[in-house]
């Protein structure tokens, strides 16, 4: 962990914005403050020694009963250095939003829509934040832990 380039560079540059770093089963992770997320992601993509050019996966996890409740998880990959890195940011239920990273990696577009759809987290600055897997009239966000598995949705007629 001490020799990890990414963690070292992040700590050197954004020390007060890093909540925690750890490595589990070889997956290096940094939990960052959400206010600085956009800046950190830009740095990770553009720094000469990091060059995380792939935004492989973006998702969220609902830790119901914990504060802040949600974690938004980004999996980055650098083709140049063949390195993976995970960034996480904490989002509370009362202020359920985080900066969109679509301007950094365009692939985040649909992934962010999916997280909005299934978890109800708002991505500020997203070009077109609407539901993607479910339909517009769907009520609630089904991957939240307090969404009952047997809940039924009202029937809807044809739209427009």
């Amino acid at each position: 962990m001490k020799n990890n380039v990414t963690t070292n560079k992040l700590n050197a540059r954004f020390l007060e914005s890093i909540v925690e770093t750890h490595s589990y089963r070889g997956d290096d992770t940094a939990i960052v403050k959400k206010e600085k997320l956009f800046e950190i992601c830009t740095f990770l993509r553009d720094d000469e020694e990091l060059l995380y050019n792939f935004m492989m996966d973006l998702t969220a996890v609902d830790y119901l009963g914990r504060e802040p409740r949600f974690e938004v998880v980004y999996h980055l990959y650098s083709l140049t250095y063949n390195r993976r890195f995970r960034i996480k940011t904490l989002v509370s239920e009362s202020e359920c939003s985080v900066d969109s990273i679509v301007p950094i990696w365009v692939s985040a577009n649909w992934f962010e829509r999916e997280v909005y759809d299934l978890y109800g987290i708002i991505f500020k600055g997203h070009p077109e934040l609407r539901r993607i897997l479910l339909y517009e009239e769907f009520q609630g966000h089904p991957l939240r832990k307090d969404y009952p598995i047997n809940k039924r949705q009202p029937l809807i007629g044809p739209t427009n």
Partner: protein
């Protein structure tokens, strides 16, 4: 000229293509804005096959997820099985026996071959090459026979288990595979002759759906579509798992990143996958196929009857499910369409706290408007064929 042009009906036309259109194999809707035959704007609507995969996984045990993964990319379910099993094994930190690794490699490559066959056959069909379709469906049939011999099912294989596999390779598998591959290679050569130098096919696919390499990376392309742009990223080479580092195979790359390159990359990958299967069958060692850890992998009936810990854990794992330690991991394998990643979070209980799949065709489908805007409406067909969107995986 200018006066008469004003009187022409020249508003943009908005039409729906799908959700149930013969060429959108898999249900997807394109909302097209057209100017004549040219695509001005395109919106892609997915989600018609959404089944709540993650919600289902969170409410079942770790082992009950396995059949659900069959139904992600239902054209190459074995790769999904392997990917999920490897992810859970990474979470628990177990290493499966050597023989199991080889069988998993054989299974993955057979699935990849059948996936590419299906993809190219269907693309040919949708561009009017019905003969090519028939040839590759015959070849796929032969591969599916092998898969059936191996695990008892043709499509919903449910073959791999956490910490092992369901059963060993049957007797005579090697001989049968060799015979099938001989015929498959003949069929491959036939399709190659029918399509690769076919003027009609080339006119439809060459220089269509071009994606420059830097943009492909930004859009999150992986798999054959990324390699068609000339970037040799293949999880099997860059992060070798199982025994891929001991296999001798090439990673074909394209030059331009158009649909023709994607087709060529897939054609060559079929050959490379066959090479891998043949090598694995030669090198495969004998030995156990399951880990001897009763808390994670069911033991044989004999052991359950004679070993006390096997019996105890048989009850515990059936009733409560296996219990990986607390933690989170991301593990990726090379799916037929690209990087198939699993992000798992365990809270130490018998059920996954989070079971996320990174579907390779999701970012590819997202980039559809980028690839077809400015082109003709007919270009949608080959482009959509070549990104190989699989509804079950994209919508989960």
């Amino acid at each position: 000229m200018s006066d008469s042009a004003k009187d022409l009906h020249s508003e943009h036309m908005v039409i729906n293509m799908g959700p149930s259109h013969p060429v959108t194999h898999g249900t997807v809707k394109f909302l097209l804005t057209l100017e004549g035959e040219t695509i001005v704007d395109m919106k892609v609507d997915i989600g018609y096959l959404h089944r709540g995969f993650e919600k289902m996984c969170e409410n079942g045990t770790w082992e009950q997820v396995m059949p659900y993964t069959d139904r992600l990319n239902y054209v190459s379910p074995l790769i999904n099985n392997v990917g999920y099993a490897l992810a859970v094994e990474k979470l628990i930190d177990i290493d499966v026996p050597e023989r199991c690794k080889y069988i998993r490699v054989i299974a993955s490559e057979l699935a990849r071959i059948s996936d590419h066959y299906t993809n190219i056959a269907a693309s040919g069909l949708e561009l009017g090459a019905f003969t090519a379709f028939l040839y590759f469906v015959e070849a796929r049939e032969l591969i599916w026979d092998l898969i059936e011999m191996m695990c008892g099912a043709r499509v919903t294989s449910n073959y791999v288990r956490i910490g092992g596999i369901k059963n060993d390779l049957p007797d005579g598998f090697k001989t049968k595979a060799r015979e099938s591959f001989k015929r498959c290679r003949q069929l491959w050569a036939d399709v190659d002759k029918l399509l690769t130098k076919n003027r009609i096919f080339i006119d439809r696919v060459r220089d269509v759906g071009i994606m420059p390499p830097d943009e492909a990376i930004a859009w999150g392309f992986t798999g054959p579509c990324l390699r068609a742009c000339g970037i040799p990223y293949d999880v099997r080479k860059f992060h070798p798992y199982l025994v891929y580092d001991q296999m001798d195979f090439e990673v074909p790359v394209g030059a331009k990143g158009d649909n023709f390159d994607r087709y060529l990359v897939r054609m060559e990958e079929i050959n490379q996958s066959m090479r891998i299967v043949e090598q694995a069958m030669e090198k495969i060692p004998s030995g156990p196929i399951n880990v001897d850890m009763p808390e994670y992998r069911w033991q044989s009936k004999d052991d359950i009857g004679n070993r006390i810990e096997s019996l105890i854990f048989h009850f515990k794992t059936v009733i409560e499910g296996i219990k990986p330690p607390k933690g989170e991991i991301y593990s990726a394998v090379e799916g037929a369409n690209g990087e198939l990643g699993f992000y798992l979070v365990s809270d130490g209980s018998g059920k996954p706290y989070k079971c996320r799949v990174r579907p390779p065709c999701f970012p590819l489908t997202a980039a559809m408007p980028r690839m077809v805007k400015g082109g003709f409406i007919a270009d949608i067909v080959p482009t959509f064929d070549m990104i190989n969107m699989i509804g079950g995986e994209c919508d989960r």
